[in-house]
């Protein structure tokens, strides 16, 4: 069965990691095993310092959170200061 979910990139991550102007990418995983936020981060090979927080279905998510079919994963860049 696998799973299909949406990843949405925000701010300056959009142009770097998404081919769509809205920053939305559909991810399809072919196997049924657990797929975590950490797996997603590895897949994109983010540079240290790029990612501020990941929100999974409107809740801030840790690296070990499991992404389910139909989920929305939102990735915000790091920020401090302003």
């Amino acid at each position: 069965m696998g799973k299909k979910f949406m990843v949405k990139f925000y701010s300056y991550l959009r142009e770097k990691y998404s081919s769509h102007s809205g920053g939305e990418e559909v991810i399809i995983i072919d196997n049924d095993g657990d797929y975590t936020i950490e797996d997603l981060k590895k897949q994109y090979d983010f540079i240290p310092g790029e990612i501020g927080c990941v929100i999974l279905n409107k809740q801030m998510a840790e690296d070990d959170a499991i992404i389910q079919d139909g989920n929305l994963v939102e990735i915000f860049p790091f920020f401090g200061g302003g």
């Binding site: 925000y10 701010s11 300056y12 142009e15 540079i47 240290p48 310092g49 790029e50 501020g52 927080c53 801030m60 915000f76 860049p77 790091f78 920020f79 401090g80 200061g81 302003g82």
Partner: protein, 628 residues
């Protein structure tokens, strides 16, 4: 400890009433206790400004301070701090500025300027190494900051001098006038340009030709190389800051549902794509500019080359400006925002508070508390950028309705009527910047307790999100920790952005602030410095600022968030439905973390004594401030 380098070693004292110029040796006690920059201004504000002094009277003292790293070859060593009693808030005022003016002052041989009194007629200071002149400025009065800088360069006959000046807003005592250095760098907040105007001081021009000695050159160079390597290899300082400056925060704050929109009525601006970093880059960005010795080049330089605002040229904008003159006023016309930025720089206005009072007036207009008759014909409907631009000029020259806003929120509410107080979104008289506390509650509690009124730069954390998931007690401890960390660049004379929160991880920030800055200070000044010592100084600075405000009568009651944040739910965006519902918990936790008394908001005796501030504790008691 006697220092052997880093500092220029001299204080220049100017009494404008007496037309007197004195030089003094920089006090070792001041160096050891407060290091420099905001440390110096905090202590000298406490010691030199009488508590009852009217901010616009000759009694107020304007203090301009560099740090031990300002003007050295340490990266991003551009910063200087201007302090006085604020005419906007009536409490502690200060503003921090980059560019090249601070290093030039240091190269002329001065760490500190202390300016007292009031000149009988308009003057400017010309500091040419040892030669210091108080010169007539009658030909400059009324000029914009850009014109002033050009004219002084002609007067002096040297195009390489550095000038810090006020514009018409400072001359006219608009309460939120800033000081403009190097055409486009502002010591913007809390009305320091207003204090300069009250002293009839139009500008301070500097030429410095001396170097700055360092005690241990090879050690200093090694520390510089380490930090340079970090800054040029870190994603945040090597790519994000140069490429976007601070403007990427616009999209970010909007995505989080916290971008101040229509005077904080909501946190989501549906026209954000017209005013964000992409729109700026694609349409108006000409170049990026760096301050003294900085590899990050985060300043934008923009030109409008077509349309109604063709000919606009401005150093900026920061994200702050895009919000203050954009979403906060319901304005999606980016060219007009750049024009507003240009006008504020030329007139010498803090673009943040200017946008804040205009947004306030626009909501009063929406709610029917102001009509076209009150505004002199201006239609203050949301997004009417022609009205915004006209109002900026009317504020700077205190014309008509502009005069109502020029005196700040308190006076404007008196003029418009008490109901308008509901729409004056301010804390201690100053407007919050851009980010709605309802959308990020732990982090933005900082507005309630910052020593210069609603402010985001007294507490700035690396990775603001993580604070949201902390337990309140732990979160407030972290806020206090970050408060001390971000004070370190302010006292050292370097820029907060590359030295603290623009880093790929909190560990890198810690390395820069707590290892490399002390190493730079130690090798430059030839005195012992480590992470514990520098954190002690940072804590002392915060307590001294708090004590300054307590002595003026500030209590726990003045640490608040506006009712709108506490009572109104955000109506749209990601944080829809949120209101600020953790205030009491946050306040109690923060006070405990700072060692302040919960009831009075005054630091406890043991807190003051641990920081070595016995003298200030005694002085507060003399002024009938209860120390528990």
């Amino acid at each position: 400890m006697s220092v052997k380098g880093g500092y220029a070693g001299q204080v220049l004292e100017i009494d404008l009433t007496e037309r007197a110029v004195n030089r003094k040796k920089l006090s070792p006690e001041l160096i050891n206790g407060y290091m420099g920059g905001r440390g110096f201004t905090s202590r000298l504000q406490y010691d030199l400004i009488p508590p009852k002094a009217d901010p616009l009277s000759p009694e107020n003292v304007l203090i301009i301070a560099t740090g031990p790293l300002t003007g050295t070859m340490a990266p991003a060593s551009s910063r200087f701090v201007v302090g006085a009693k604020s005419p906007l808030t009536g409490i502690l005022g200060d503003a921090n500025c980059g560019g090249h003016w601070g290093p030039e002052l240091k190269h002329a041989g001065y760490d500190l300027l202390i300016i007292r009194g009031r000149a009988p007629r308009s003057v400017y200071l010309w500091i040419d190494d040892d030669r210091v002149e108080i010169r007539d400025a009658s030909h400059l009065w009324g000029k914009t900051t850009g014109e002033t800088e050009k004219l002084i360069r002609q007067d002096v006959g040297d195009d390489s001098i550095r000038v810090a000046s006020i514009g018409p807003a400072g001359e006219n005592l608009v309460r939120f006038a800033g000081i403009v250095a190097d055409y486009d760098h502002l010591a913007a907040r809390t009305g320091m340009g207003t204090v300069m105007g009250s002293k009839n001081l139009k500008a301070i021009a500097v030429r410095g030709t001396r170097g700055i000695e360092v005690a241990d050159l090879s050690g200093f160079k090694e520390a510089v190389e380490q930090i340079w390597e970090l800054l040029t290899s870190d994603e945040q300082t090597a790519r994000v800051l140069p490429q976007y400056g601070t403007t990427s925060l616009v999209d970010l704050h909007n995505s989080l549902g916290g971008m101040s929109t229509r005077n904080w009525q909501t946190g989501y601006f549906d026209q954000v794509s017209k005013i964000n970093s992409d729109a700026l880059r694609d349409n108006y960005l000409l170049n990026t500019v760096g301050c003294f010795c900085c590899p990050c080049r985060c300043d934008r330089y923009c030109v409008v080359d077509k349309g109604e605002f063709k000919g606009t040229r401005v150093g900026g904008p920061e994200y702050y400006t895009l919000v203050a003159m954009g979403s906060k006023c319901g304005n999606d016309n980016l060219a007009s925002i750049l024009k507003a930025n240009e006008l504020c720089n030329n007139y010498g206005l803090d673009v943040g508070t200017t946008g804040g009072v205009i947004a306030f007036a626009m909501e009063c207009f929406e709610k029917g508390l102001l009509t076209i008759r009150d505004t002199g014909g201006l239609d203050l409907s949301w997004g009417n950028y022609h009205a915004i631009l006209q109002l900026i000029e009317m504020i700077a020259y205190r014309q008509g309705f502009g005069n109502t806003l020029a005196l700040g929120f308190g006076e404007a509410v008196k003029e418009i009527g008490p109901e308008s107080g509901n729409y004056a979104i301010q804390i201690k008289g100053m407007d919050p910047p851009t980010f709605d506390p309802r959308a990020l509650k732990v982090y933005n509690f900082r507005y309630a307790v910052a020593s210069r009124g609603a402010d985001h730069l007294r507490i700035s954390a690396h990775g603001a999100y993580e604070l949201e998931v902390s337990e309140p007690a732990q979160a407030t401890q972290k806020l206090k920790f970050w408060q001390d960390i971000v004070c370190i660049p302010d006292i050292a004379g370097v820029c907060k952005f590359p030295y603290t929160f623009y880093s790929q991880s909190a560990d890198v920030t810690m390395k820069k602030a707590l290892q490399l800055v002390p190493l730079l200070i130690e090798s430059a000044a030839g005195v012992k410095m480590d992470s514990g010592m520098i954190m002690d100084i940072a804590k002392r600075v915060a307590l001294t600022e708090r004590a300054f405000n307590n002595r003026l009568g500030l209590t726990a009651e003045q640490d608040y968030l506006p009712e709108r944040f506490l009572k109104d739910e955000l109506p749209s965006g990601r944080a829809k439905g949120q209101k600020y519902d953790v205030f009491d918990t946050m306040k109690a936790g923060y006070y405990a973390a700072c060692g302040w008394d919960q009831e009075t908001g005054v630091p406890k005796r043991e807190t003051m004594e641990q920081a070595g501030l016995h003298d200030i504790a005694e002085d507060l008691e003399k002024h009938d401030i209860i120390i528990k």
